[in-house]
Protein backbone atom coordinates (compact mmCIF):
# COMPACT_ATOMS: atom_id res chain seq x y z
CA UNK A 1 0.00 0.00 0.00
CA UNK A 2 1.37 3.39 -0.98
CA UNK A 3 2.09 5.68 1.96
CA UNK A 4 1.88 9.50 2.10
CA UNK A 5 2.57 12.01 4.87
CA UNK A 6 -0.54 14.02 4.04
CA UNK A 7 -3.49 13.18 1.78
CA UNK A 8 -5.83 16.08 1.02
CA UNK A 9 -9.39 15.29 -0.04
CA UNK A 10 -10.48 18.00 -2.48
CA UNK A 11 -8.58 20.36 -4.80
CA UNK A 12 -10.70 23.47 -4.36
CA UNK A 13 -9.63 26.65 -2.56
CA UNK A 14 -9.36 24.85 0.82
CA UNK A 15 -7.39 21.87 -0.48
CA UNK A 16 -5.00 24.05 -2.50
CA UNK A 17 -4.25 26.42 0.40
CA UNK A 18 -3.84 23.51 2.82
CA UNK A 19 -1.41 21.79 0.44
CA UNK A 20 0.70 24.92 -0.04
CA UNK A 21 0.85 25.58 3.69
CA UNK A 22 1.82 21.96 4.50
CA UNK A 23 4.59 22.22 1.90
CA UNK A 24 5.80 25.55 3.31
CA UNK A 25 5.94 23.93 6.73
CA UNK A 26 8.29 21.24 5.54
CA UNK A 27 6.17 18.36 4.23
CA UNK A 28 6.90 17.25 0.65
CA UNK A 29 5.06 13.95 0.59
CA UNK A 30 1.56 15.22 -0.17
CA UNK A 31 -1.24 13.98 -2.42
CA UNK A 32 -4.29 16.03 -3.44
CA UNK A 33 -7.27 13.98 -4.63
CA UNK A 34 -9.75 15.95 -6.77
CA UNK A 35 -12.89 14.39 -8.27
CA UNK A 36 -13.41 17.02 -10.99
CA UNK A 37 -11.34 17.18 -14.16
CA UNK A 38 -9.49 20.29 -12.97
CA UNK A 39 -8.27 21.94 -9.78
CA UNK A 40 -9.93 25.05 -8.37
CA UNK A 41 -13.29 23.67 -7.22
CA UNK A 42 -16.31 25.95 -7.20
CA UNK A 43 -14.16 29.02 -8.01
CA UNK A 44 -14.07 27.86 -11.63
CA UNK A 45 -17.74 28.67 -12.10
CA UNK A 46 -17.75 31.84 -9.97
CA UNK A 47 -16.80 34.14 -12.84
CA UNK A 48 -17.97 37.29 -11.02
CA UNK A 49 -15.52 39.50 -9.16
CA UNK A 50 -15.07 40.28 -5.47
CA UNK A 51 -12.63 37.52 -4.49
CA UNK A 52 -9.27 38.06 -2.84
CA UNK A 53 -9.69 41.54 -1.32
CA UNK A 54 -8.03 40.30 1.88
CA UNK A 55 -5.59 37.77 0.43
CA UNK A 56 -4.30 39.69 -2.59
CA UNK A 57 -5.53 43.24 -1.81
CA UNK A 58 -7.30 43.37 -5.15
CA UNK A 59 -10.65 42.29 -6.51
CA UNK A 60 -10.35 39.13 -8.56
CA UNK A 61 -12.84 36.84 -10.27
CA UNK A 62 -13.14 33.25 -9.02
CA UNK A 63 -11.10 31.67 -11.85
CA UNK A 64 -8.31 34.25 -11.33
CA UNK A 65 -8.20 33.55 -7.59
CA UNK A 66 -8.08 29.81 -8.31
CA UNK A 67 -5.39 30.15 -10.97
CA UNK A 68 -3.07 31.99 -8.55
CA UNK A 69 -3.26 29.08 -6.10
CA UNK A 70 -3.08 26.43 -8.82
CA UNK A 71 0.05 28.07 -10.27
CA UNK A 72 1.67 28.01 -6.82
CA UNK A 73 0.75 24.35 -6.30
CA UNK A 74 2.20 23.45 -9.72
CA UNK A 75 5.35 25.51 -9.06
CA UNK A 76 5.78 23.76 -5.70
CA UNK A 77 5.50 20.41 -7.48
CA UNK A 78 2.77 19.12 -5.18
CA UNK A 79 1.35 15.86 -6.59
CA UNK A 80 -2.37 15.70 -7.37
CA UNK A 81 -4.80 13.38 -9.09
CA UNK A 82 -7.80 14.59 -11.11
CA UNK A 83 -10.98 12.62 -11.82
CA UNK A 84 -10.19 10.81 -8.58
CA UNK A 85 -13.22 10.12 -6.42
CA UNK A 86 -12.59 9.18 -2.82
CA UNK A 87 -15.00 6.43 -1.77
CA UNK A 88 -13.87 5.75 1.80
CA UNK A 89 -11.62 7.01 4.56
CA UNK A 90 -10.99 4.63 7.46
CA UNK A 91 -10.38 5.78 11.06
CA UNK A 92 -6.72 4.68 10.70
CA UNK A 93 -6.44 6.97 7.68
CA UNK A 94 -6.54 4.53 4.78
CA UNK A 95 -8.00 6.41 1.84
CA UNK A 96 -9.76 4.52 -0.97
CA UNK A 97 -10.01 6.43 -4.24
CA UNK A 98 -11.19 5.45 -7.70
CA UNK A 99 -9.95 6.65 -11.09
CA UNK A 100 -10.58 5.36 -14.63
CA UNK A 101 -6.86 4.58 -15.13
CA UNK A 102 -5.99 2.98 -11.80
CA UNK A 103 -9.31 1.52 -10.69
CA UNK A 104 -9.81 1.36 -6.93
CA UNK A 105 -6.65 2.19 -4.99
CA UNK A 106 -6.10 2.35 -1.24
CA UNK A 107 -3.33 4.57 0.13
CA UNK A 108 -2.25 5.13 3.74
CA UNK A 109 -1.80 8.62 5.14
CA UNK A 110 -0.13 9.85 8.33
CA UNK A 111 -2.53 12.79 8.26
CA UNK A 112 -5.66 13.51 6.22
CA UNK A 113 -7.05 16.97 5.48
CA UNK A 114 -10.76 17.05 4.71
CA UNK A 115 -11.42 19.78 2.13
CA UNK A 116 -14.46 18.47 0.26
CA UNK A 117 -16.50 21.68 0.32
CA UNK A 118 -20.27 21.81 0.44
CA UNK A 119 -23.37 21.01 -1.59
CA UNK A 120 -26.53 22.94 -2.25
CA UNK A 121 -29.80 22.01 -0.55
CA UNK A 122 -31.72 20.32 -3.37
CA UNK A 123 -35.38 20.60 -4.32
CA UNK A 124 -36.16 17.28 -2.68
CA UNK A 125 -35.10 18.67 0.70
CA UNK A 126 -37.40 21.69 0.42
CA UNK A 127 -40.79 20.02 0.05
CA UNK A 128 -41.88 22.16 -2.90
CA UNK A 129 -45.19 21.04 -4.42
CA UNK A 130 -45.55 20.38 -8.15
CA UNK A 131 -44.62 17.92 -10.89
CA UNK A 132 -41.03 16.99 -11.67
CA UNK A 133 -40.99 19.35 -14.62
CA UNK A 134 -37.88 20.64 -16.38
CA UNK A 135 -36.70 24.13 -15.47
CA UNK A 136 -36.05 23.75 -11.74
CA UNK A 137 -32.35 24.07 -10.88
CA UNK A 138 -30.27 24.79 -7.84
CA UNK A 139 -28.56 28.14 -8.41
CA UNK A 140 -25.10 26.53 -8.45
CA UNK A 141 -26.13 24.00 -11.10
CA UNK A 142 -27.48 26.81 -13.27
CA UNK A 143 -24.22 28.68 -12.65
CA UNK A 144 -22.18 25.71 -13.83
CA UNK A 145 -24.37 25.19 -16.91
CA UNK A 146 -24.09 28.86 -17.90
CA UNK A 147 -20.49 29.61 -16.99
CA UNK A 148 -18.67 26.34 -17.71
CA UNK A 149 -20.82 24.34 -20.14
CA UNK A 150 -22.20 27.35 -22.01
CA UNK A 151 -25.95 26.66 -21.84
CA UNK A 152 -28.63 29.24 -21.12
CA UNK A 153 -30.97 27.74 -18.51
CA UNK A 154 -34.08 29.81 -19.27
CA UNK A 155 -35.59 33.09 -20.41
CA UNK A 156 -37.79 34.10 -17.49
CA UNK A 157 -36.82 33.11 -13.97
CA UNK A 158 -37.97 33.32 -10.39
CA UNK A 159 -35.40 32.63 -7.68
CA UNK A 160 -36.30 31.08 -4.33
CA UNK A 161 -33.83 31.93 -1.57
CA UNK A 162 -31.60 34.98 -1.33
CA UNK A 163 -28.33 33.21 -0.67
CA UNK A 164 -25.32 34.71 -2.43
CA UNK A 165 -25.34 32.24 -5.32
CA UNK A 166 -29.00 33.06 -6.03
CA UNK A 167 -28.26 36.79 -6.03
CA UNK A 168 -25.22 36.34 -8.27
CA UNK A 169 -27.31 34.24 -10.67
CA UNK A 170 -30.05 36.89 -10.77
CA UNK A 171 -27.47 39.30 -12.20
CA UNK A 172 -25.85 36.68 -14.42
CA UNK A 173 -29.16 35.71 -16.05
CA UNK A 174 -30.13 39.36 -16.51
CA UNK A 175 -26.78 40.17 -18.15
CA UNK A 176 -27.20 37.13 -20.40
CA UNK A 177 -30.51 38.52 -21.66
CA UNK A 178 -33.03 36.72 -19.42
CA UNK A 179 -35.65 38.38 -17.20
CA UNK A 180 -35.59 37.67 -13.48
CA UNK A 181 -39.08 38.38 -12.13
CA UNK A 182 -38.37 38.21 -8.40
CA UNK A 183 -36.25 36.74 -5.64
CA UNK A 184 -38.40 35.24 -2.86
CA UNK A 185 -36.92 34.78 0.61
CA UNK A 186 -38.66 32.78 3.35
CA UNK A 187 -36.96 34.69 6.17
CA UNK A 188 -37.64 38.36 7.00
CA UNK A 189 -33.99 39.12 6.11
CA UNK A 190 -31.65 38.04 3.34
CA UNK A 191 -28.94 35.46 3.92
CA UNK A 192 -26.79 37.10 1.26
CA UNK A 193 -24.13 39.78 1.47
CA UNK A 194 -25.42 43.36 1.27
CA UNK A 195 -23.09 44.13 -1.61
CA UNK A 196 -24.76 41.38 -3.64
CA UNK A 197 -28.28 42.62 -2.91
CA UNK A 198 -27.33 46.10 -4.13
CA UNK A 199 -25.24 45.15 -7.17
CA UNK A 200 -27.20 42.07 -8.30
CA UNK A 201 -30.82 43.05 -7.55
CA UNK A 202 -31.13 46.83 -6.99
CA UNK A 203 -28.97 47.59 -10.06
CA UNK A 204 -31.46 45.79 -12.29
CA UNK A 205 -34.66 46.60 -10.41
CA UNK A 206 -35.25 42.96 -9.41
CA UNK A 207 -37.61 42.84 -6.41
CA UNK A 208 -36.53 41.01 -3.24
CA UNK A 209 -39.68 39.64 -1.60
CA UNK A 210 -38.87 38.95 2.06
CA UNK A 211 -41.12 36.56 4.03
CA UNK A 212 -42.25 34.88 0.79
CA UNK A 213 -42.04 31.35 -0.50
CA UNK A 214 -43.04 29.21 -3.48
CA UNK A 215 -46.34 27.48 -2.82
CA UNK A 216 -46.82 25.95 -6.26
CA UNK A 217 -44.72 25.19 -9.31
CA UNK A 218 -46.90 25.17 -12.41
CA UNK A 219 -46.38 23.18 -15.61
CA UNK A 220 -46.02 19.46 -16.30
CA UNK A 221 -43.23 19.08 -18.89
CA UNK A 222 -41.59 22.46 -18.26
CA UNK A 223 -42.11 25.14 -15.63
CA UNK A 224 -44.79 27.59 -16.79
CA UNK A 225 -44.89 29.70 -13.65
CA UNK A 226 -44.76 29.69 -9.87
CA UNK A 227 -47.13 30.86 -7.18
CA UNK A 228 -45.51 32.93 -4.45
CA UNK A 229 -47.18 33.44 -1.08
CA UNK A 230 -46.37 35.62 1.86
CA UNK A 231 -45.46 33.75 5.05
CA UNK A 232 -46.25 34.69 8.64
CA UNK A 233 -43.96 34.77 11.66
CA UNK A 234 -44.33 30.97 11.83
CA UNK A 235 -42.95 30.84 8.24
CA UNK A 236 -46.18 29.21 7.04
CA UNK A 237 -47.90 30.58 3.90
CA UNK A 238 -50.73 33.04 4.56
CA UNK A 239 -53.85 32.03 2.57
CA UNK A 240 -55.08 34.75 0.25
CA UNK A 241 -51.62 36.21 -0.45
CA UNK A 242 -50.91 33.95 -3.45
CA UNK A 243 -49.58 35.64 -6.57
CA UNK A 244 -48.83 33.96 -9.89
CA UNK A 245 -45.52 34.69 -11.67
CA UNK A 246 -45.24 33.32 -15.21
CA UNK A 247 -41.71 31.95 -15.81
CA UNK A 248 -39.91 29.00 -17.40
CA UNK A 249 -37.22 28.60 -14.76
CA UNK A 250 -37.06 28.36 -10.97
CA UNK A 251 -33.65 28.65 -9.32
CA UNK A 252 -33.16 27.46 -5.75
CA UNK A 253 -30.65 29.17 -3.48
CA UNK A 254 -31.76 27.73 -0.16
CA UNK A 255 -28.64 26.99 1.77
CA UNK A 256 -25.39 25.05 1.56
CA UNK A 257 -24.58 21.84 3.40
CA UNK A 258 -21.03 20.68 4.20
CA UNK A 259 -20.38 17.43 2.35
CA UNK A 260 -19.28 15.10 5.14
CA UNK A 261 -20.21 11.59 3.97
CA UNK A 262 -16.51 10.66 3.91
CA UNK A 263 -15.90 12.20 7.33
CA UNK A 264 -18.57 9.86 8.67
CA UNK A 265 -16.86 6.78 7.23
CA UNK A 266 -13.72 7.89 9.07
CA UNK A 267 -15.66 8.12 12.34
CA UNK A 268 -15.29 11.90 12.60
CA UNK A 269 -17.72 13.47 15.08
CA UNK A 270 -19.96 16.12 13.47
CA UNK A 271 -21.46 19.28 14.92
CA UNK A 272 -25.24 19.17 14.38
CA UNK A 273 -25.41 22.96 13.85
CA UNK A 274 -22.61 23.45 11.29
CA UNK A 275 -22.99 20.03 9.66
CA UNK A 276 -19.19 19.94 9.70
CA UNK A 277 -16.65 18.24 11.94
CA UNK A 278 -16.09 19.22 15.55
CA UNK A 279 -12.53 20.52 15.68
CA UNK A 280 -9.97 21.79 18.16
CA UNK A 281 -8.01 25.03 17.73
CA UNK A 282 -5.63 23.15 15.39
CA UNK A 283 -8.62 22.18 13.20
CA UNK A 284 -8.07 18.53 14.15
CA UNK A 285 -11.26 16.46 14.24
CA UNK A 286 -12.25 13.87 16.86
CA UNK A 287 -10.07 11.37 14.94
CA UNK A 288 -6.37 12.11 15.63
CA UNK A 289 -4.52 13.11 12.47
CA UNK A 290 -7.65 14.01 10.49
CA UNK A 291 -8.04 17.76 9.97
CA UNK A 292 -10.88 19.73 8.38
CA UNK A 293 -11.08 23.16 6.74
CA UNK A 294 -13.09 25.32 4.37
CA UNK A 295 -16.74 24.78 3.48
CA UNK A 296 -16.71 21.13 4.59
CA UNK A 297 -16.00 22.40 8.12
CA UNK A 298 -18.56 25.22 8.05
CA UNK A 299 -19.95 27.28 5.18
CA UNK A 300 -18.00 30.51 4.60
CA UNK A 301 -19.01 33.78 2.89
CA UNK A 302 -15.55 34.72 1.68
CA UNK A 303 -12.95 32.55 -0.02
CA UNK A 304 -10.24 34.61 1.70
CA UNK A 305 -11.37 33.12 5.03
CA UNK A 306 -11.35 29.63 3.51
CA UNK A 307 -7.75 30.10 2.36
CA UNK A 308 -6.71 31.37 5.79
CA UNK A 309 -8.41 28.55 7.66
CA UNK A 310 -7.05 25.93 5.26
CA UNK A 311 -3.50 27.30 5.63
CA UNK A 312 -3.81 26.69 9.37
CA UNK A 313 -5.05 23.12 8.77
CA UNK A 314 -2.08 22.51 6.43
CA UNK A 315 0.39 23.85 8.98
CA UNK A 316 -1.12 21.84 11.85
CA UNK A 317 -1.23 18.64 9.79
CA UNK A 318 2.45 19.19 8.95
CA UNK A 319 3.31 19.67 12.62
CA UNK A 320 1.31 16.55 13.52
CA UNK A 321 3.39 14.49 11.08
CA UNK A 322 6.67 16.07 12.22
CA UNK A 323 5.86 15.42 15.89
CA UNK A 324 5.50 11.70 15.25
CA UNK A 325 1.72 11.62 14.87
CA UNK A 326 0.99 11.98 18.57
CA UNK A 327 -2.56 12.74 19.65
CA UNK A 328 -3.09 16.04 21.46
CA UNK A 329 -2.55 15.81 25.20
CA UNK A 330 -4.73 17.30 27.90
CA UNK A 331 -8.42 17.95 28.03
CA UNK A 332 -9.82 20.69 25.83
CA UNK A 333 -11.73 23.79 26.85
CA UNK A 334 -15.24 23.49 25.39
CA UNK A 335 -16.51 26.43 23.32
CA UNK A 336 -20.17 27.06 22.68
CA UNK A 337 -22.49 29.81 21.55
CA UNK A 338 -25.72 30.90 23.17
CA UNK A 339 -28.15 33.83 23.16
CA UNK A 340 -27.83 34.60 19.47
CA UNK A 341 -24.53 32.84 18.68
CA UNK A 342 -25.48 29.71 16.76
CA UNK A 343 -22.13 27.93 16.74
CA UNK A 344 -18.40 28.35 17.10
CA UNK A 345 -15.49 26.88 15.14
CA UNK A 346 -13.35 25.55 16.76
CA UNK A 347 -15.55 23.76 19.28
CA UNK A 348 -12.65 23.25 21.71
CA UNK A 349 -9.22 24.63 22.58
CA UNK A 350 -6.37 22.45 23.85
CA UNK A 351 -4.22 24.98 25.71
CA UNK A 352 -1.08 22.83 25.79
CA UNK A 353 -0.81 22.96 21.99
CA UNK A 354 -2.62 26.21 21.21
CA UNK A 355 -1.05 29.06 19.25
CA UNK A 356 -0.65 32.45 20.89
CA UNK A 357 -3.67 33.74 18.98
CA UNK A 358 -6.74 31.58 18.52
CA UNK A 359 -9.26 32.70 15.90
CA UNK A 360 -12.83 31.69 16.72
CA UNK A 361 -15.36 31.97 13.87
CA UNK A 362 -19.12 31.95 14.39
CA UNK A 363 -22.52 32.87 12.99
CA UNK A 364 -25.39 34.63 14.69
CA UNK A 365 -29.01 33.51 14.32
CA UNK A 366 -30.69 36.86 13.66
CA UNK A 367 -29.97 40.45 12.63
CA UNK A 368 -28.60 42.39 15.64
CA UNK A 369 -27.96 46.15 15.67
CA UNK A 370 -25.75 47.95 18.21
CA UNK A 371 -25.07 44.88 20.31
CA UNK A 372 -21.90 43.31 21.64
CA UNK A 373 -20.25 39.95 21.11
CA UNK A 374 -19.18 38.84 24.59
CA UNK A 375 -16.80 36.02 25.51
CA UNK A 376 -17.10 34.36 28.92
CA UNK A 377 -14.55 31.93 30.38
CA UNK A 378 -16.21 29.85 33.11
CA UNK A 379 -18.76 32.62 33.63
CA UNK A 380 -16.21 35.45 33.82
CA UNK A 381 -16.21 38.10 31.08
CA UNK A 382 -13.05 37.75 29.00
CA UNK A 383 -13.73 40.01 26.06
CA UNK A 384 -16.45 42.33 24.75
CA UNK A 385 -16.61 43.53 21.14
CA UNK A 386 -19.12 46.21 20.22
CA UNK A 387 -20.86 45.55 16.90
CA UNK A 388 -22.82 48.05 14.83
CA UNK A 389 -24.46 45.17 13.02
CA UNK A 390 -24.37 41.39 13.00
CA UNK A 391 -26.33 39.27 10.52
CA UNK A 392 -26.68 35.55 9.79
CA UNK A 393 -25.20 36.10 6.33
CA UNK A 394 -21.92 37.54 7.62
CA UNK A 395 -19.54 35.33 9.59
CA UNK A 396 -18.14 36.85 12.78
CA UNK A 397 -14.65 36.37 14.17
CA UNK A 398 -13.09 36.82 17.62
CA UNK A 399 -9.39 36.38 18.38
CA UNK A 400 -8.57 34.95 21.80
CA UNK A 401 -5.13 35.20 23.37
CA UNK A 402 -3.79 31.96 24.86
CA UNK A 403 -2.25 33.84 27.79
CA UNK A 404 -5.65 35.26 28.71
CA UNK A 405 -7.01 31.76 29.37
CA UNK A 406 -6.41 30.14 32.79
CA UNK A 407 -5.08 26.57 32.50
CA UNK A 408 -8.02 25.17 34.44
CA UNK A 409 -10.68 26.83 32.24
CA UNK A 410 -13.51 24.38 31.51
CA UNK A 411 -15.81 26.26 29.15
CA UNK A 412 -15.88 29.36 26.97
CA UNK A 413 -19.28 30.76 26.04
CA UNK A 414 -19.96 33.37 23.34
CA UNK A 415 -23.10 35.48 23.56
CA UNK A 416 -24.81 38.42 21.89
CA UNK A 417 -25.63 41.01 24.54
CA UNK A 418 -27.37 44.38 24.45
Amino acid sequence: MKQYNIVIIGGGPAGLAAALSAKEHGIDDILILERDERLGGILNQCIHNGFGLHTFKEELTGPEYAERYIDKVLAAGIPYKLNATVADISPDKEVLYVTAEEGAVTVKADAVILAMGCRERPRGALGLPGFRQAGVYTAGTAQRLMNIEGYMVGKEAVILGSGDIGLIMARRMTLAGATVKAVAELMPYSGGLKRNIVQCLDDFGIPLLLSHTVTRIHGKERVTGVTLSQVGADRKPIPGTEEFYPCDTLLLSCGLLPENELSKTAGVKLDPVTGGAEVTDTLETSVPGIFSCGNVLHVHDLVDNVSKEAALAGQKAAEYVQNGCKAAEGAGIRLRGESGVRYTVPQSIVLAQADEKIVVRMRVGDVFRDKALVVYADGKELKRQKKRIMAPGEMEEVTLLRESLAPDTKEIVLRVEG
Binding site: T61, P63, M146, I148
Partner: protein
Protein backbone atom coordinates in the same frame (compact mmCIF):
# COMPACT_ATOMS: atom_id res chain seq x y z
CA UNK B 1 -33.45 65.03 -7.22
CA UNK B 2 -33.56 62.69 -4.24
CA UNK B 3 -32.07 59.18 -4.35
CA UNK B 4 -32.43 56.40 -1.76
CA UNK B 5 -29.74 53.75 -1.72
CA UNK B 6 -27.92 51.23 0.48
CA UNK B 7 -24.25 51.83 1.15
CA UNK B 8 -22.08 48.79 0.38
CA UNK B 9 -18.73 50.01 1.64
CA UNK B 10 -19.08 47.81 4.76
CA UNK B 11 -21.56 45.26 6.20
CA UNK B 12 -23.52 47.87 8.20
CA UNK B 13 -25.39 48.91 5.03
CA UNK B 14 -26.51 52.44 5.95
CA UNK B 15 -29.61 53.70 4.13
CA UNK B 16 -28.35 56.78 2.33
CA UNK B 17 -30.37 59.71 1.01
CA UNK B 18 -28.53 61.58 -1.70
CA UNK B 19 -29.87 64.95 -2.82
CA UNK B 20 -28.68 66.57 -6.02
CA UNK B 21 -29.39 70.25 -6.62
CA UNK B 22 -27.50 71.55 -9.59
CA UNK B 23 -23.83 71.08 -8.74
CA UNK B 24 -24.43 70.44 -5.05
CA UNK B 25 -24.66 66.84 -3.82
CA UNK B 26 -25.54 66.15 -0.18
CA UNK B 27 -25.49 62.72 1.42
CA UNK B 28 -27.35 61.96 4.64
CA UNK B 29 -27.85 58.71 6.55
CA UNK B 30 -24.19 57.73 6.27
CA UNK B 31 -22.16 57.06 9.41
CA UNK B 32 -18.69 57.58 7.96
CA UNK B 33 -16.92 59.58 5.22
CA UNK B 34 -16.64 56.48 3.02
CA UNK B 35 -20.44 56.36 2.92
CA UNK B 36 -20.65 59.95 1.76
CA UNK B 37 -18.10 59.25 -0.96
CA UNK B 38 -20.00 56.13 -2.05
CA UNK B 39 -23.35 57.94 -2.15
CA UNK B 40 -21.94 60.79 -4.18
CA UNK B 41 -20.27 58.54 -6.73
CA UNK B 42 -23.29 56.22 -7.04
CA UNK B 43 -25.53 59.14 -7.92
CA UNK B 44 -23.19 61.24 -10.08
CA UNK B 45 -20.94 58.71 -11.83
CA UNK B 46 -21.67 55.09 -10.89
CA UNK B 47 -19.30 52.46 -12.34
CA UNK B 48 -19.18 48.66 -12.37
CA UNK B 49 -16.81 45.86 -13.29
CA UNK B 50 -18.61 43.66 -15.82
CA UNK B 51 -17.91 39.93 -15.86
CA UNK B 52 -19.11 37.33 -18.32
CA UNK B 53 -17.82 34.68 -20.67
CA UNK B 54 -17.01 34.35 -24.36
CA UNK B 55 -17.20 31.37 -26.75
CA UNK B 56 -13.92 29.63 -27.48
CA UNK B 57 -13.21 27.53 -30.58
CA UNK B 58 -10.71 24.68 -30.34
CA UNK B 59 -10.30 24.88 -26.58
CA UNK B 60 -10.43 22.38 -23.73
CA UNK B 61 -13.57 24.21 -22.57
CA UNK B 62 -16.33 25.89 -24.62
CA UNK B 63 -16.13 29.17 -22.68
CA UNK B 64 -13.50 31.55 -21.35
CA UNK B 65 -14.53 33.80 -18.47
CA UNK B 66 -13.79 37.51 -18.97
CA UNK B 67 -14.02 40.86 -17.18
CA UNK B 68 -13.56 44.52 -17.93
CA UNK B 69 -10.01 45.34 -16.86
CA UNK B 70 -11.27 48.60 -15.34
CA UNK B 71 -14.70 49.75 -14.20
CA UNK B 72 -17.11 51.04 -16.83
CA UNK B 73 -19.97 53.55 -16.44
CA UNK B 74 -23.05 51.78 -15.09
CA UNK B 75 -25.26 52.92 -17.96
CA UNK B 76 -22.88 51.15 -20.39
CA UNK B 77 -23.13 47.73 -18.66
CA UNK B 78 -25.72 46.31 -21.09
CA UNK B 79 -23.80 47.62 -24.15
CA UNK B 80 -20.64 45.98 -22.80
CA UNK B 81 -22.51 42.70 -22.28
CA UNK B 82 -23.92 42.82 -25.82
CA UNK B 83 -20.35 42.96 -27.20
CA UNK B 84 -19.17 40.22 -24.85
CA UNK B 85 -22.05 37.98 -25.97
CA UNK B 86 -21.12 38.46 -29.64
CA UNK B 87 -17.40 37.85 -29.09
CA UNK B 88 -15.72 34.62 -30.30
CA UNK B 89 -12.09 33.71 -29.62
CA UNK B 90 -9.81 30.87 -30.65
CA UNK B 91 -7.81 28.79 -28.18
CA UNK B 92 -5.29 29.02 -26.65
CA UNK B 93 -6.43 31.82 -24.32
CA UNK B 94 -4.19 33.07 -21.56
CA UNK B 95 -5.35 34.77 -18.38
CA UNK B 96 -5.04 38.54 -18.95
CA UNK B 97 -5.31 38.33 -22.77
CA UNK B 98 -7.28 41.24 -24.23
CA UNK B 99 -10.31 39.74 -26.00
CA UNK B 100 -12.09 43.03 -26.79
CA UNK B 101 -10.21 46.34 -26.86
CA UNK B 102 -12.05 49.53 -25.85
CA UNK B 103 -15.35 47.73 -25.33
CA UNK B 104 -18.47 49.75 -26.31
CA UNK B 105 -16.39 52.93 -26.47
CA UNK B 106 -15.75 52.91 -22.73
CA UNK B 107 -11.96 52.90 -23.02
CA UNK B 108 -11.88 49.67 -20.98
CA UNK B 109 -10.52 46.41 -22.38
CA UNK B 110 -12.23 43.07 -21.81
CA UNK B 111 -9.62 40.55 -20.63
CA UNK B 112 -9.71 36.79 -20.08
CA UNK B 113 -9.87 35.68 -16.46
CA UNK B 114 -8.84 32.10 -17.08
CA UNK B 115 -6.46 30.11 -19.21
CA UNK B 116 -7.91 27.79 -21.86
CA UNK B 117 -5.54 25.37 -23.56
CA UNK B 118 -5.95 24.48 -27.22
CA UNK B 119 -6.82 20.88 -28.04
Amino acid sequence: MKHELTCIRCPIGCQLTVEVEGEAVTVTGNSCPRGAEYGKKEVTAPTRTVTGSVRVTGGELPLASVKTATDVPKEKVMDVMAEIRKCRVTAPVKIGDVVIADVAGTGADVVATRTIKAI
